[in-house]
């Protein structure tokens, strides 16, 4: 579905992302994890067209989308959410979702219907007529996903939808993401919480200091000493092994 090959980005003296390559197979959930500051969000922004990569190629179902604007990429079927939620604050929840639905529906009645259906499916049914600014953090995260889903994407890019949520809310949102995957949407998600990812992803890429350091199933990743060191610091894997 998505093929990223060798994308890099430098901000002044900082090499934020260095030759990252990854593949997102259709129909599954792929995760990109890494400690804070690893370059996850920059990688994501490059894939979605918000930041131009200095080098590398991005292909969506074979189509080169490397230099396309974000709105063109969304129209091509790849839609992102934002880690810091970006609701249209002056609009109701339904109107927010409908902005996404308008990408595929020219008629207002059809878009409204589609938006209502997506809202109900993602558990926002009771809040559709409330202002988006009145939602809780968990509600806003859901709204981010609902809006993106309303554009009927083939590939959904989720940027830390679990950050800032409590364990119950994380549990619910994990179920919601599975449900979206089961509906036929391929998912690439960024998280820095490993546990949440382990429950969800088929396939995990680990980013540290701007470069990929590991790739595999959640189980293999959790045992990888390079990953443990990236999260816990140099020598941590050896110390953990010594304690075991």
């Amino acid at each position: 579905m998505l093929e990223v090959s060798g994308i890099s980005k430098r901000f002044g003296g900082l090499q934020a992302v260095r030759e990252v390559s990854l593949t997102v197979p259709a129909g599954g959930i792929t995760a990109l994890i890494g400690p804070n500051g690893a370059g996850k969000t920059t990688t994501f922004a490059m894939i979605a067209g918000f930041i131009r990569p200095d080098a590398g190629r991005i292909r969506l179902s074979g189509q080169d989308v490397t230099r396309l604007r974000p709105d063109r990429i969304a129209a091509a079927g790849m839609v992102r959410t934002f880690q810091i939620t970006q609701p249209f604050a002056g609009l109701s929840v339904l109107e927010n979702i409908r902005v996404g639905a308008f990408l595929r529906h020219a008629e207002t009645a059809a878009a409204t219907e589609a938006a209502r259906a997506v809202g109900q499916r993602l558990g926002l049914g009771a809040f559709l007529d409330r202002p988006a600014s009145a939602l809780t953090v968990a509600g806003r995260k859901r709204l981010e996903v609902a809006r993106a889903l309303a554009t009927q994407p083939r590939l959904l890019l989720l940027d830390e939808v679990m950050a800032g949520l409590n364990p119950t809310e994380i549990h619910e949102i994990v179920a919601m993401i599975r449900d979206i995957r089961d509906g036929g949407v391929t998912i690439l998600l960024i998280e820095h919480i490993m546990q949440a990812v382990a429950a969800l992803a088929d396939n995990v890429y680990v980013l540290a200091e701007g470069a990929l350091i590991a790739h595999g199933t959640p189980k293999a990743i959790a045992d990888d000493p390079r990953v443990i060191e990236a999260y816990l610091g140099r020598g941590a894997a050896a110390r953990l092994a010594a304690h075991a």
Binding site: A74, F82, Q86, G90, E95, F102
Partner: protein, 309 residues
Amino acid sequence: MKPVLIAAAVLLALGPFALTSQSLVNIAMLTVVSAFLGQCWNIAGGFGGLTSFGHTIFFGTGAYAAAIMQTRWGLNPWLALPAALVLGAVVGAAIGAASFRAGLRGSYFALVTLAFAEVFRVLSNSLDFTRGGLGINIPLGMGAANFQFADRRATYAVALVLLVLATSAAAWLKRARFGAQLVALRENEDAAAALGIDLVRTKTAALALSGGLTALGGVLYAQTYLYVDPSISFGVERSVEMLLVAMIGGAGSVWGPILGAIVLHIIADVSRAWIATPGFAPMLYGVVLLVIIGVLPRGIIGVWERWRA
């Protein structure tokens, strides 16, 4: 509640036709023209957040189009309406494409439109084509066929048609996809782009629509006063009045500019009756704008909505 409001609006709109005093009809006409221009500004500034400080560019373009078409080419002034609509839209599209491609928004966009208006004023002041600072006199020739009305009620009727046209455009924005995308861009550009909205094209189209409609107001002005000059056409005061009308009433709402025009004209006329000092009205506008921004960011309509909720 709603049918009552609509009945009251229709009554208020048709009332002036029953008036015999030309000066009262004149006040009604000026108020409707203000409401119309405010509504035009609202389409771009209210719905799209394109806070133009130079909207008189389009007004002046329409006024000069009417004057030049008649005096230079001997064309019927009614033809100035479609011509102004197209010209205003082209100017709006050009300014929009240049500004939005460069990523200008908010106060930067406001400054650029202000600068464009000044450029238009200086050009019309120095070019032979526009007869420079002398301005253009449109020869007197009363008659409906010549778009010159002795009876102010006829001018009022044309203004009313324009207001209905612009308000229908605003009502359409409120319902249609284009309007929803415009509002989404106003609220959050990144989120809107992520959902597939073409920023440059949408905003440019909004400014073109607003510009085309605004230019119609310029034609009506030229045909009413039979004289245009650079400062009437491109002076900053008219731009300010347009945005003030929309903001007092409630920018981004369908009925806001109409309410705003009524309130602003009551304030202006009452103050003029009391204080004759020249320059007092612009100063008062400034104060009103400060109060609106500080106390009623969503205008009179905002108060109404909060009271109803």
